[in-house]
């Protein structure tokens, strides 16, 4: 609890600006939704034939998962507040349209009949009878929409629209509960307060509504201005970082400390980040250095010349008893050593992740092209069990190891691919469920060994020192052997579009920092 308060106090400035962005997103989208949904609701109350298709359509919008809807917005509207507001606007439509429709159609027939019979015009019936009587129902719809929007607006952090989601998703990625709560608590309070304020409006005496009705849009515009005022002005490059990257020492924090990087940045999900960089919505992004999308979108990685990103070299991790039992295995598994550079791995990932080729096909093609492929030998009776984590690069490596083992030894291979994460793979290995899997040095250091900052600093990001350290620790603590690294380094990296980097003459992070300084 004290931790949380301290965290919130330290981050109060950030929380405040995220809160303003959140209020802005919610109220602009709500205002737009009211402007559109109210007339639509009135229209379908007048023309019942239209009610089913219109309500059906806005209902379908509501069923689209929020992340998917935000995803659809990227190609159309890019990233940032605009697509977020449009998505929130679409979500707010259903409750307002439906409640307006219900509110008006539930006005009792004798009342509207009397209104007509007394000679009220249709406009007078609407403004003096139907809307005032439907008002509580309409307000209930607006309240529902407001609460939904406060919730969905947290997801806006995924597409660089800001808001309290930045803390929430950063906290989830970093497993930092204080950070999650620093976003979640203000979001919950905001929902409650907004709902309460609207409930006050709902209870206003109906006869006085006409004048006060204008207060809603006025208030919404006022709240919206909070958000619009500090808009994305300034001309220099724009960076998009994942929530996790924003909170990591070997991420944004390190960039600021070590490189003195000071650039405009937004928080964005890695699912849309690469595409956004390609479409020039972002100039610099944080990614993984062997991600296939680097190639798909023609991005290059900047050299980490001050070594803030720890090395993530991949190597087979295998139980020592297995190596001893099958001495021929070690040399076979080491065949790949030094064969796959960053760019080769990127290309292989590209084929699997982007061109949707099977990992086995990609692995086989690679081995054949490098004259490493052997036809299967007649299998003996012993079996090696391979594991892999659940993403393309691991599948490719496992497929290669399977083929090599079958081609160079008489061992049978059983592949258990797609084990959820680091912890699952590692536990499977230590519990004799699998015999080996490919692991990354950085992950072993930070996640499995949970090395203290002093240790990490002592290794100073040197790839060999880190490799030797984890190898030694694994042997000592777990009876596990690290074989030779494959060669590529799948670490965090800053990326830019190739042509832009060329035009600005930027190849390393230091050069990027200089460029930004000079542009300012």
């Amino acid at each position: 609890m004290r931790d949380l308060l301290q965290f919130m106090q330290e981050q109060s400035h950030k929380i405040f600006s995220q809160l303003l962005a959140h209020i802005g997103l919610t109220s602009i989208s709500l205002l737009l939704a009211i402007i559109i949904a109210l007339p639509v609701g009135i229209f379908i109350a007048r023309k019942p034939k239209w009610s089913a298709p219109v309500l059906g359509f806005v209902g379908i919008l509501q069923t689209i998962p929020s992340i998917a809807l935000l995803g659809f917005m990227i190609p159309l509207l890019g990233i940032g507040p605009v697509p977020a507001i449009v998505a929130l606007f679409l979500y707010a439509l259903l409750p307002i349209v439906r409640n307006t429709y219900t509110g008006i159609t539930q006005v009792s027939a004798p009342v509207t009949d009397a209104a007509r019979g007394m000679g009220m015009t249709p406009a007078q019936i609407l403004t003096k009878v139907e809307l005032p009587l439907a008002f509580p129902t309409i307000m209930a719809g607006i309240r529902t929409a407001a609460v939904i929007n406060v919730g969905v607006a947290t997801l806006a952090a995924y597409i660089a629209a800001g808001g309290l989601g930045e803390f929430i998703f950063g906290g989830i990625a970093l497993n930092n509960s204080n950070m999650i709560l620093a976003g979640a608590i203000p979001a919950a309070l905001l929902a409650i307060i907004l709902d309460y304020l609207l409930s006050l409006l709902q209870k206003i005496k109906i006869s006085k509504i006409r004048r006060r009705f204008y207060l809603i849009p006025l208030a919404a515009i006022l709240l919206s201005s909070f958000y619009l005022a500090p808009s994305f002005s300034g001309s220099s490059l724009l960076a998009g970082f994942t929530p996790e990257f924003m909170g990591r020492e070997d991420g944004y924090l390190g960039l600021k400390k070590v490189y003195n990087l000071d650039m405009r940045s937004v928080v964005v999900s890695d699912a849309v980040m690469y595409k956004a960089a390609f479409e020039k919505n972002l100039d610099v992004i944080s990614g993984y250095s062997t991600d296939g999308r680097l190639r798909a979108f023609d991005l290059i990685t900047l050299v980490d010349d001050k070594k803030i990103f720890p090395p993530y070299y991949v190597a087979p991790v295998i139980r020592i008893e297995v190596v001893q039992k099958y001495p021929q295995l070690e040399s076979v598994l080491n065949i790949l050593s030094g064969k796959i550079s960053d760019s080769i791995m990127t290309a292989l990932n590209y084929k699997v992740d982007y061109l949707k080729k099977s990992p086995e096909k990609v692995a086989k093609d690679f081995l054949i092209a490098n004259n490493l492929f052997h036809e299967e030998l007649a299998p003996g009776k012993n079996t090696i069990r391979l594991g892999s984590k659940i993403f393309g690069e691991q599948y490719i490596l496992t497929a290669m190891y399977s083929m090599l083992i079958r081609g160079y030894t008489d061992l049978k291979v059983e592949a258990k691919t797609g084990l959820g994460g680091t912890k699952i793979c590692f536990d499977a290995l230590t519990n004799d469920q699998i015999d080996m899997y490919p692991e990354y040095t950085g992950t072993a250091l930070l996640v499995i060994l949970d090395a203290k900052p002093a240790v990490v600093k002592g290794l100073s990001g040197d790839k060999n020192k880190v490799y030797e350290y984890v190898k030694q620790q694994f042997k000592k603590n777990y009876d596990l052997a690290w074989l030779q690294p494959v060669g590529f380094n799948n670490t965090y990296a800053l990326m830019m579009r190739r042509e832009q980097a060329k035009a600005l003459n930027v190849e390393s992070i230091s050069q990027l920092v200089q460029t930004i300084g000079s542009v300012k």
């Binding site: 009397a114 209104a115 000679g119």
Partner: protein, 318 residues
């Protein structure tokens, strides 16, 4: 005052009303009587253009209804609904003031008119600031009438005006409306399925069945000279009561004796025979009853009434 010529209406292929013509004179009360689905409400609603007739014309005071701006036209006709149709979000005063404010009367004038109407309808002035749901059914119906009469329209249309009330309230309100000075000069058309209401309140009745006019005339015409089997059957139950209700003392003077002495205050020549019988039957047997008609004083008792009734029937059938 009101003249309907050949008005008809079809809803989605179903004939709601075959061509119908009738006229209502100034100050006359006409009842549109019929069973459910007979087209009586359709007929009424065509008079203030809540339903536009497929064919035929409605003229009010010689001016064709369809040629006037519809809202202005409706503001000149009072309209009372079965389920009062009061605006739940308006106070009683605001409800009554709707048409005057549509007609842009000054506020003071509206306020005065509201107070005036509340008094005429025997509602306390404090009701002005109440909301409709705080009132009883009978009070709501009276406010509904006050609202319809607010701008003093010469014509009043009422759709089952007492239909939503319980039997006791219904009878009380109906007899109250009948003698209301406010309504005396008005031309009134009302829809009802209640025979007694039609007989006691209307000067003239039209009876509809399945969208067709069955008979038109005074109450006594239907009861003593039914035109067809439907009309006869329609009034069959309680026929005697209806017949007594359809005749007043002044209708039977020919069968009564002129009396030289006696107090005529107890009865009035406009009272119907049913009411008179009720008064006689609750009195002592020895009491005598008199009334004044054509400047003469007549004596009346139950025997005389029944003999007058059979005399009346015979004279009709002759």
């Amino acid at each position: 005052m009101i003249k309907a010529s050949g008005i008809s209406k079809t809803f989605k292929g179903n004939i709601a009303l075959h061509p119908l013509s009738f006229s209502v004179e100034r100050g006359e009360n006409m009842a549109i009587l019929g069973t459910s689905g007979s087209g009586k409400t359709t007929t009424l609603r065509m008079l203030n253009r809540l339903i536009e007739p497929d064919a035929g014309t409605v003229t009010i005071d010689g001016k064709e209804a369809l040629l006037q701006p519809v809202e202005d036209f409706r503001r000149g006709i009072g309209y009372v609904l079965q389920h009062h149709g009061l605006f739940p979000h308006y106070t009683v005063a605001e409800n009554i003031g709707i048409v005057p404010s549509l007609l842009k009367w000054p506020k003071e004038k509206i306020k005065k008119r509201v107070a005036d109407l509340l008094e005429q309808l025997h509602l306390p002035n404090s009701y002005a600031q109440k909301y409709p749901h705080e009132l009883s059914g009978g009070e709501q119906q009276r406010v509904g009438l006050a609202r319809a009469m607010a701008a003093d329209p010469p014509i009043l249309l009422m759709d089952e005006p007492f239909g939503a009330l319980d039997a006791v309230t219904r009878a009380a309100i109906a007899s109250e409306f009948k003698v209301l000075p406010l309504l005396q000069e008005k031309t009134i058309v009302f829809v009802t399925h209640d025979v007694q209401e039609a007989i006691t309140l209307a000067d003239k009745i039209i009876l509809l069945h399945e969208g067709k006019l069955q008979q038109e005339g005074k109450a006594a015409d239907f009861l003593f000279r039914p035109i067809n089997a439907f009309v006869k059957d329609f009034f069959e139950t309680n026929l005697l009561q209806y017949q007594l209700q359809s005749l007043t003392l002044k209708d039977i003077t020919a069968s009564l004796k002129i009396s030289r002495a006696g107090d005529p205050k107890a009865l009035h020549s406009n009272q119907n025979l049913w009411e008179v019988l009720q008064i006689i039957s609750t009195a002592e047997e020895s009491d005598s009853f008199f009334f004044r008609g054509n400047d003469k004083i007549y004596e009346v008792n139950s025997e005389l009434i029944f003999s007058a009734l059979s005399h009346f029937k015979n004279s009709v059938h002759a």
